[in-house]
């Protein structure tokens, strides 16, 4: 089991979702986060007070998958989120120790899908 965490551009969320559904990945959690990598942050000015390098809005996706779904999921995220410009984001793939479906108390692979 793996946990896939992806940080993407906010306006790419709908396209990534569409690609994931095509790859039959239907379970995901999305949150709005702030951050930046190589794409430099933005300047904001409030009554003349300038704040440089402010963090940018990003979307964070968390998807738990069984091994055979890892590659299709990663590929789907890339397909939906890639523009080729800095700021497209990153995908992290982590080992997942346990997964429990609260409703049925199923554990492990059976609880993921």
């Amino acid at each position: 089991m793996k946990l896939i965490i992806a940080i993407i551009q906010p306006h790419k969320l709908e396209e990534v979702k569409a690609e994931l559904y095509k790859a039959e990945v239907n379970l995901l959690t999305v949150s709005e986060v702030l951050g930046h990598g190589r794409q430099k942050g933005v300047t904001e000015i409030y009554r003349g007070a300038k704040e440089s390098g402010n963090l940018l809005r990003k979307m964070r996706l968390e998807i738990a998958v069984n091994e055979n779904f890892v590659e299709p999921t990663v590929k789907a995220i890339i397909k939906g989120a890639k523009t080729g410009e800095t700021g497209d984001g990153k995908i992290f793939v982590l080992d997942l120790q346990e997964c429990v479906r609260i409703r049925t108390e199923e554990r492990g692979s059976a609880a993921i899908g």
Binding site: H11, E14, A18, E44, I45, L55, R57
Partner: protein, 409 residues
């Protein structure tokens, strides 16, 4: 003779109409995505600044100075001769400047209505230049034709009590033109933009409904029975419009929405605007019930079919509602309501309906062409649209270096 009561009512009405522009800012601001909300509020507020100055310097003179020509000319430049004595051709018992400032608020909100068409993708500098040129070369002449002494549509006998033609059809057509040539927002097909703050839309609608009493009842320019009539039919039509839109949604989509009620109430207010001083309560209900059907078809059926991106439906609500209101005035107007008005088709005077239809056509034609020319001119000079990167990041950060909401702290 100056009447204290009338003057007080017109001044209060002026303040009410001014409040409609911040109301519109929230109405529109709630509908856009959160990365663009400040840009919409900013556009509304900068119009209040720019046009307040334009109006006292030359806008009022171009619109209302007596003239048989294309517009009023510059004889009242800088309010020369526009003082505290009444100018009887416009209002015989309030100071001339009270009439002037009341009209200023109409000149402010009209270009603000167009914002709905190009929201989320127009460069701020281009927006200011476009607005100033549009107010001067579209609003001011049209205002003169319909309301100014010597204006040819006024002389023809066109009825427009509070601005159905001058304000709503005018702004609505300009909205259609700009939406057509500006093109769709980026990624529109993949990303259907949802309103980011519906309570703002409701707040804005409430402020608009409230301010509209000044808009319509204030247009009586006196605290009298005519003002009361306008007040009552305005409230009635807004109510009928909101109810009707909710019913349409209930029947067609299974559930009524607050967005629908707000849209319908505004459409009702738009439609009753030209008629407010000429029709009674039952026509007001009919006008309100029907306008939501027309506007709903425009925004939910015609717009998707034709594919233009009028982001916030300035055309579908204001132009369609305005046309219906102007024509309905020609149907339902009655001298029993206002002896200074005229009878409409249903009261035995078909000629009035033809005059109303002609006024609508003239407005559509003139506004369409001149708005197109102004847009092209501004595009040539400084470029109208932001680049794609700026549009994706949002206008708040790229045009103003601000953001509306923080996630941290």
């Amino acid at each position: 003779m100056i009447s204290a009561g009338d003057t007080a009512w017109v001044l209060i009405s002026s303040a009410l109409v001014l409040l409609m522009t911040p109301g519109l800012a929230f109405f529109y601001g709630g509908m856009v995505r959160k990365k663009n909300v400040l840009s919409v509020l900013m556009q509304c507020f900068i119009i209040m600044c720019v046009l307040s100055i334009q109006w006292v310097l030359f806008g009022y003179s171009l619109s209302f100075a007596p003239s048989e020509g294309f517009w009023g000319g510059l004889s009242w430049f800088g309010l020369k001769g526009v003082g505290f004595e009444p100018y009887a051709d416009y209002a015989k018992d309030i100071p001339h400047q009270a009439f002037m400032i009341f009209q200023a608020m109409f000149a402010i909100i009209t270009p603000a209505l167009i914002i709905g068409a190009f929201a989320e993708r127009m460069k701020f500098s281009a927006f200011i230049l476009f607005t100033l040129l549009w107010a001067t070369f579209v609003y001011d002449p049209l205002c003169h034709w319909v309301w100014g002494v010597g204006g040819w549509l006024r002389n023809l006998g066109a009825l427009d009590f509070a601005g159905g033609t001058v304000v709503h059809i005018n702004a609505g057509i300009a909205a259609l033109v700009t939406a057509l040539i500006l093109g769709k927002r980026v990624n529109l097909n993949k990303n259907v933009p949802t309103p980011h703050n519906m309570p703002f839309v409701v707040l804005g609608t409430g402020l608009l409904w409230f301010g509209w009493f000044g808009f319509n009842a204030g247009s009586a320019l006196a605290a009298n029975g005519l003002a009361v009539n306008a007040f009552v039919v305005t409230n009635t039509a807004a109510a009928a419009g909101g109810l009707s839109w909710a019913l349409i949604e209930w029947l067609r989509n299974g559930k009524p929405t607050i967005f629908g009620v707000c849209s319908g109430a505004v459409a009702g207010l738009v439609a009753i605007t030209p008629a407010a001083g000429f029709v009674s309560v039952v026509p007001a209900i009919i006008i309100g019930l029907l306008v939501s059907i027309f506007s709903f078809i425009a925004v939910a059926v015609i717009k998707p079919k034709l594919g233009y991106d009028d982001s916030l439906d300035a055309f579908g609500v204001h132009c369609v509602g305005g046309i219906w209101g102007a024509l309905a005035t020609g149907l339902f107007a009655s001298k029993l309501v206002n002896p200074a008005g005229a009878d409409g088709l249903f009261f035995g005077n078909p000629k009035q309906f033809i005059i109303q239809a002609l006024t609508v056509l003239v407005t559509i034609g003139y506004t369409f062409i001149v708005t197109f020319v102004i847009y092209k001119l501004v595009d040539l000079l400084i470029g109208v649209r932001v680049n794609q990167e700026e549009e994706l990041m949002g206008l708040d950060l790229t045009q103003h270096h601000e953001r509306a909401y923080t996630v941290l702290e």
